[in-house]
Amino acid sequence: MNAPGALDRRAVVAALLHEPGDLLVVTGLGAPGYDAAAAGDQALNFYLWGAMGGAAMVGLGLALAQPDRRVLVLTGDGEMLMGIGSLATIAVAGAPNLAIAVLDNGRYGETGAQHSHTAQGTDLAAVASACGWRSTATAFTMAEVEALRARLLSEPLFAVIRISPAESPRALPPRDGAHLADRFRRALGVTPP
């Protein structure tokens, strides 16, 4: 068993998304979306409310389409595990403007806090490294999170952030997918091609 992390997820995400500038953010379903909404809902946040396992690949398609913008995927350990193959796909594709931060509490928080694989020995940073990611990191303290922030905004980095399994109050972002996609594209200035 891996010891649970200690970091407060809201404090972590607030630090990562502080003054996001023109950062493009994709969140995996569940609490990472609530965390991003609590840090400040904005049009350049695209929240998945389902499509479990797809967050990282949405980030890849977006990063390839917008090579001059930074893309950050914020997701949980359960969501990343379901899309684990995409770690190989993204490493092989190579997207220098894409980073992934996994908020790892070792739990399936939406469904009763059942232990995920990362609570029981699976190390997603090691998986990413084995898939070909050249830059991986794991953060256990807020000082390490602060140091990661600059890297997440400048490198193709895969980072695991060990957060506490404690639940935070719900902060629900909009969940109409068509609305979220439309406002994102408008904010990005993407005209209907």
Binding site: A51, G61, G177
Partner: protein
């Protein structure tokens, strides 16, 4: 490998539809398209570990202002079902080209269940299904599917019949 002209025409239809990202899980029936996409400086060919990755890739491309296509075999359609909630729910285009197995002259019984279920499964998941069984109709079907997908913002699949591709022959 021979490169039938219908495949070249299909590639030209993708170019005309301004597709710039191509996600694929390899299939012999898509070999020409995959090779063409890899060597095209204006395209990104992305090899996937499983087909649903390509649904999410296409969604990200659309968010970023590009158009993607997903190439797969009918056996991969089943892998995509839940991920199809993404384009359906977000009213996004999706263009996928599916080479059929498990029908015309199939030798492998393991291909039959998913091949037989493919059109119904796609339809049930909210995908518009077009089909091409003859070389002369392949490219125009892809062009029409691309127009429907990107102009009307809906998911569309084009099934390339096994009769079109040629039944795979198993040689012992």
């Amino acid at each position: 490998m021979s490169q039938p002209s219908w495949q070249e025409a299909v590639y030209a239809a993708l170019k005309a539809a301004r597709i710039t990202q191509v996600g694929y899980v390899p299939d012999a029936g898509h070999a020409h398209l995959i090779a063409a996409a890899i060597t095209d400086a204006d395209m990104r060919a992305i090899v996937l570990t499983t087909e649903e990755e390509g649904i999410a890739l296409a969604a990200g491309a659309w968010l970023g202002g590009q158009r993607a296509a997903l190439l797969m075999q009918s056996s991969g359609v089943g892998n995509c079902i839940n991920m199809l909630s993404l384009p359906v729910n977000c009213r996004m285009p999706l263009l996928t080209l599916v080479t059929m197995r498990g029908e015309w002259g199939e030798f492998n019984p393991w291909q039959v269940p998913m091949g037989r279920a493919t059109p119904a499964v796609l339809t049930a998941a909210g995908v518009h299904v077009h089909r091409a069984d003859h070389p002369g109709e392949a490219a125009e079907t892809v062009a029409a599917a691309a127009a429907l997908a990107f102009d009307s913002a809906v998911p569309v699949a084009v099934l390339f019949g096994q009769r079109l591709i040629g039944a795979k022959v198993f040689v012992q």
